[in-house]
Every structure is written in structure tokens, then in C-alpha cells.
């Protein structure tokens, strides 16, 4: 597989600086692994605009030409909407790039931290949910 280490280091760096995304409906660490950052480019095959989390599925081709379908979790539609999303922001057939973290047990499942849409525009993907208390 062709891997850009510089990109991955950048992602790991972002993770160390910001911490893993804190989620509302479940805690990050019980489902995803902060030590397993992953990034990939693929074609959108399905979008689920659903609670408690919106999801998209992408077909990803490896260097041998094998295609596998990945399930990516995002924030909820409510949070996405309040951060500028619409249900059709991602469309079937869109070629996107996404970075995030692998699920601990589920195969081909990950949580999205950052997405670039077909035009290269960065999109909000999941929330830094726990705002620090105001002092």
C-alpha cells in the first residue's frame, strides 16, 4: 500500500495536540483506538443521515486493485448541521479523502476527524464535544 508517512505523522501530531475527539453518545476510547490513525481516499457509496451518528461508506481501492467498503462515523446530523452541513453535502460517487481512527474491534470501521470533499474543501466531521467549563 502506498502510504504518505508525512501525512500520517501530521495526523498523529494533531491527535496529540487536540486529544481524541470526545463523543457525546459514547466515549472515544471504548470504540476507537487513538494509536491507530488511518487515512484513505475513496468513493462515497452510501450516506446515512441518522442519529446518534451520521455515517458515510466509501469504496477504497488498495494497490492490488482490491476494493473494500469502509464505514465511517461522524458526529450527529444535529451537530453537523450546526457546523454547516446539509444532508447532501456528501453525494454518492464523490471522491473524498478522510482521516481518523480505526475501530478497536469492528473491521473496516473508523471515526472521521477530518474530510476533504471532492473539490479539496475541508469539512467538519466530528465534534470536540466536551467544552471546558467556563471559569
Amino acid at each position: 500500500m502506498r502510504i504518505s508517512n508525512r501525512r500520517v505523522i501530521g495526523w498523529a501530531c494533531a491527535a496529540l495536540v487536540t486529544g481524541a475527539p470526545v463523543l457525546a453518545h459514547h466515549s472515544f476510547a471504548t470504540q476507537y483506538d487513538i494509536n491507530k490513525p488511518v487515512e484513505m481516499r475513496g468513493t462515497v457509496t452510501k450516506v446515512e443521515w441518522t442519529n446518534p451518528h451520521a455515517r458515510f461508506y466509501i469504496d477504497v481501492k488498495d494497490e492490488k486493485g482490491q476494493v473494500s467498503n469502509w464505514n465511517w462515523e461522524m458526529a450527529s446530523p444535529n451537530v453537523l448541521t450546526r457546523n454547516g452541513w446539509k444532508p447532501n453535502t456528501l453525494k454518492l460517487g464523490d471522491e473524498i479523502t478522510v482521516g481518523g481512527y480505526l475501530a478497536r474491534t469492528a473491521p473496516r470501521m473508523a471515526i472521521a476527524g477530518a474530510i476533504k470533499d471532492a473539490s479539496g474543501r475541508p469539512l467538519f466531521a466530528s465534534a470536540q464535544a466536551d467544552l471546558p467549563p467556563a471559569k
Partner: protein, 268 residues
Amino acid sequence: MRKHRATFAIVAAVAVAAPLQAQITVPTTRPPTTRAGGNITAKPPEGPLPRQASGRPDLTGLWLRRGGIGDIRQGLKPGETLPLLPETVARMRKLMANEDPQLHCLPLPTPRANPYPFRMVETPTHLFILNESMHGYRQVFMDGRGHPAPDELLPSWHGHSIGRWEGDTLVVDTVGFHPSTWFDNYGHLHSEKLHTIERFTRRNLGNLDIEITIDDPGAYSRTFTLNFNAQLMTGNELMEYICEENNQDLAYIEGLAAPGLEAEKSGK
């Protein structure tokens, strides 16, 4: 420079340890608008405290709580610890993360919150707190009644709440909680003796201070108080949140709810 090298080494170690999949050309930064409940501004709207015709503060509005989302200890004073009774610790040690009521789309009673707003609606006889999350509503009786007698008190997820004004602060007193609810993702528990006293003080147009006193001799050795703040979400409305419609996560959650508890209790 040395510090930068050290940071790089740690980062590289993390990166190398990660099993990497797929081909990649990717974003390395997060977009700037990563705020949870929505597009609230870091600074809430400014203005004086709005008042009702009666002269009392008007708490009406859509509010988003800050703090204490995953762990209520964020509401404690710096350095303060929760006065857990040993039996509460023993119960918490056994909790698995996938037992969290929230994961099963069940309500989030006081003092629990997640990053979704709530709307306060006051009538002459009732205050309603409408939670976007889990579509939970709270009913607070404002007509001067007391709590039911203990043998008539039905256990419920949000308990039985009565409210009164003390100056500019709304005080909500709640008993009768369903005993199996959790305070947070960490699994801080309570007993059937839980009694909460919430003090809502709208400081100004954009800020609502929330002080929650937890009185639960069945699970804690003394009362303690949590302090949070909520900000007014302007230009927003409650949105539908049907948690059950695609709850895939439950099947993949693993491990203890409070994996750090052993180390905490052993002083490590």
C-alpha cells in the same frame, strides 16, 4: 529545538505503531469550526439580564451546557475529589462501558448532560426543560406543591422536581430518581437516596450558571457541588434526535466504563 525533536520522536513512534491502511493523500489539519452543540460562538451574546413582567429573571431560551459531558468531575473545584463510598467504588469497578444507559439511548438525568442544547420554557405553574438529547423533557412544578410522600413517589428517570425562586436564582429540588442511571460516561453512580438541588442563575443575556448539589448518602460520604455554565445559543432551535434509528455503536463498545478507577483508588 530539542523539545521539537522529542515531540517528533513521540509522534513518529505513534505513527509507526499504527497499522496503516489504504492509499492516502490527506488533510492534516482539522477545520476551524469544531464546536460540539453547534455554531455557538466562543463568546456568548452580550447584554443585560432579561426579566419577565413580574420582575423575575427570564430563563427562556435555548442553552448549551459547557463542561461535565463525559465526566462530572469537571464541575468540581480544582483539587477536589468525589467522596465516593467504598461500596460505590466496588459497584463502579464492575461496570462495562456497553452498559451505559446513554449508549442504549436512555435519558440523561441530572447532573448528566451531553453536547446538545436544552430549552427552558416557563409557565405560571410549570417549568419545562426540553432536552434535545434523547428527546427528554423535565417537568418542574412551580405551584408550591411539595414532593409526594415516600411511599407514593414513583421512581423515574428524571425524578420528581419542584421549583422556587430565591431572589434571582431558580432552585429546583429533585428526588425519586430511577436507581440505575449514571452521572456520566465514566459510570459515576448514585443510589435510590439521590436528592439533587439545582440552582439556575442567569447572570446576563448570554450566560446561565448552573450549580448542582448532590446529596446521596447511599453512594457518597458527603454532599458535593458541581458548577457548570450554559451559553445562550442564538439563531438555533431544538432539532430532532432519534437516537434509536441507527445505533450501530453499541455492538462495538468494549472494556470497562472506568478503566482508570483502579489506579486512582490505589494511589498510583
